[in-house]
């Protein structure tokens, strides 16, 4: 189905290169701790040992689970609002003009700045975090979806018209699949922003989560714990991004000439 079907060997080589890259990163970190020895700069082995300890007590899983749960629910809310609104804005000039003031104004207020308002309105419970993730997701998804729809070549629409498709059919069978790569790219960027937002929100106003873990680490000078949180954030973010990259490549190969 997809143009570049990779052989087994190529795949193995690809993963091996990745593993090598990660190994090099840890090696560099290790060398840096040797070059600048300090209690404020833990070695990778110390951090991994701390991570195992926190995993065994369950604290790591609890904080990670809470953060991911918040990201997931907020992301879901943002996406389920963002995609339909983006499709509508991309398809109808009138709706675009009507809604653009909202999207163009609100998207410049960073979600981090909205933390204050979210806490005042919704307290420090779950809802304020879900709200912030949804907020940071929705505008990116709206804009990339609308851009995806608007970049459809006019001949695709005209071909469907002359083949007898109705307006609804054109929307469903032409506009939507043609906008797919744009939508997925928007989701990927939004996921990255969700990580930024959740950490900031949890640092300011939460009892659990990776952000809280970071903040408590700072308060009680638990340097190892801070680094565990950073390591986990990088790792989970990387994995989440991989999922989107695979999806984009899958749909991209099918859905568009260029990814």
């Amino acid at each position: 189905m997809i143009m570049s079907k990779k052989s087994r060997n190529e795949k193995i080589r690809e993963y091996a290169t990745y593993a090598l890259g990660f190994a090099a990163m840890f090696a560099t970190w290790h060398l840096l701790t040797k070059a600048f020895p300090s209690v404020l700069f833990p070695t990778p082995t110390a951090v991994i040992a701390k991570a195992i300890e926190l995993a065994q007590t369950g604290a790591l899983w609890e904080n990670l689970g809470v953060s991911l749960g918040r990201i997931f629910s907020g992301f879901l809310v943002g996406v389920s609002i963002g995609i339909p609104v983006g499709l509508i804005m991309g398809n109808f000039h009138f709706m675009r003009r009507l809604l653009e003031p909202f999207t163009e104004f609100l998207r410049f207020i960073p979600s981090v700045a909205m933390i204050t308002v979210a806490v005042i309105w919704f307290g420090i419970g779950e809802f304020s975090k879900v709200f912030l993730i949804a907020y940071t997701t929705v505008f990116i998804v709206i804009i990339s979806t609308a851009a995806g729809v608007m970049s459809i070549h006019i001949d695709k629409i005209r071909a469907a018209q002359t083949l007898g498709a109705s307006r609804a059919q054109i929307f469903l069978f032409v506009s939507l699949p043609a906008a797919m790569p744009g939508i997925l790219t928007g989701l990927r960027v939004a996921m990255g922003n969700s990580f930024t937002t959740i950490v900031a929100a949890e640092m300011v106003a939460a009892d659990t989560g990776l952000g809280t873990m970071l903040w408590h680490g700072r308060l009680f000078m638990l340097i190892d714990q801070i680094f565990v949180a950073l390591l986990i954030l990088g790792l989970v973010g990387f994995l989440a991004d991989r999922v989107f990259r695979v999806a984009i490549r899958y749909f991209g190969g099918k859905y568009s000439a260029v990814i």
Partner: protein, 261 residues
């Protein structure tokens, strides 16, 4: 004139665009043309003479500013499945669908059951010489193959009129010659009404039953029509082909010069 001879009828069609400066620009003015039901009409003209405007109006993509356009006795008010379009660019194909899924798109929209439309689409892919490529996606196929998918896609939808806007212009010379032969063969078989736009005299004489030459724009219209009195087998090295070529060339020469002034 028998009814079949004015299957498509442009009656003094004018299309006016408003330029950025605010001035009106007539792409075509009082354009008149009748095309028969089983005719392959080639519309020839220099760049910017409004050939594509003529096609867009007949397809129903754009309304005429003045004048009437009638197909099979019915005025054109918008797009319709009776008038199929083959676009110059391959951007009109759906890259998320395989070749056969592209071909059955129109039938699927019309609600034809899957087994029937599959069989019909396969038949037309075979007609254009793409048997065995059914499950490839457009990205995996060459430019010539993509244009053949376009042709199969519109033929499967059973249109009355085929509108082609320089469909082979982006192809290399060998592929183009091959595609012309294939289109000629298909047309001899199906005898559809075709309006074929090109700037290539050779192509027009290889394919057409009549060749209409347009004046240089703006406010373009038909300058004259040449009946192509060549047999079914056309050979561009034959004397009668060359004679036709000269006639059309004489007609278009000064328009091309005017277009470049």
């Amino acid at each position: 004139m028998s009814p079949a001879n004015d299957f498509v009828s442009f009656g003094n069609v004018t299309k006016t665009f408003r330029a950025i400066s605010g001035a009106d620009y007539h792409a075509i003015k009082d354009f008149k043309l009748d095309v028969g039901q089983h005719e392959f009409f080639c519309l020839l003209g220099p760049t910017g003479c409004g050939k594509t405007t003529v096609l867009n109006i007949l397809a129903g993509f754009e309304p005429p500013s003045a004048g009437s356009i009638v197909v099979n006795g019915q005025p054109v008010t918008g797009t319709g499945a009776d008038r199929a379009v083959i676009f110059q660019s391959q951007d009109s194909l759906y890259p998320w669908l395989s070749a056969i899924e592209n071909v059955e798109f129109g039938l699927r929209m019309a609600g034809m059951p899957k087994a029937r439309r599959r069989a019909r689409a396969a038949e037309y892919l075979k007609l254009v010489g793409l048997a065995g490529q059914e499950h490839k996606h457009p990205n995996e196929l060459s430019g010539g193959m993509k244009q053949r998918i376009q042709i199969a896609r519109v033929l499967a939808n059973n249109p009355k009129i085929l509108l082609m806007d320089e469909p082979f212009a982006a192809l290399d010379a060998q592929t183009r010659a091959l595609m012309q032969q294939q289109l000629r063969r298909i047309w001899l078989q199906e005898k559809l009404c075709v309006l074929f736009i090109t700037h290539d005299i050779d192509e027009a004489l290889t394919l057409g039953t009549r060749v209409g030459v347009m004046r240089a724009g703006p406010a373009s219209a038909l300058k004259g029509i040449v009946d192509v009195e060549l047999g079914e087998e056309r050979d561009r090295t034959q004397q009668d082909f060359v004679d036709h070529y000269r006639r059309v060339y004489e007609m278009i020469k000064e328009e091309v010069l005017r277009a470049h002034q």
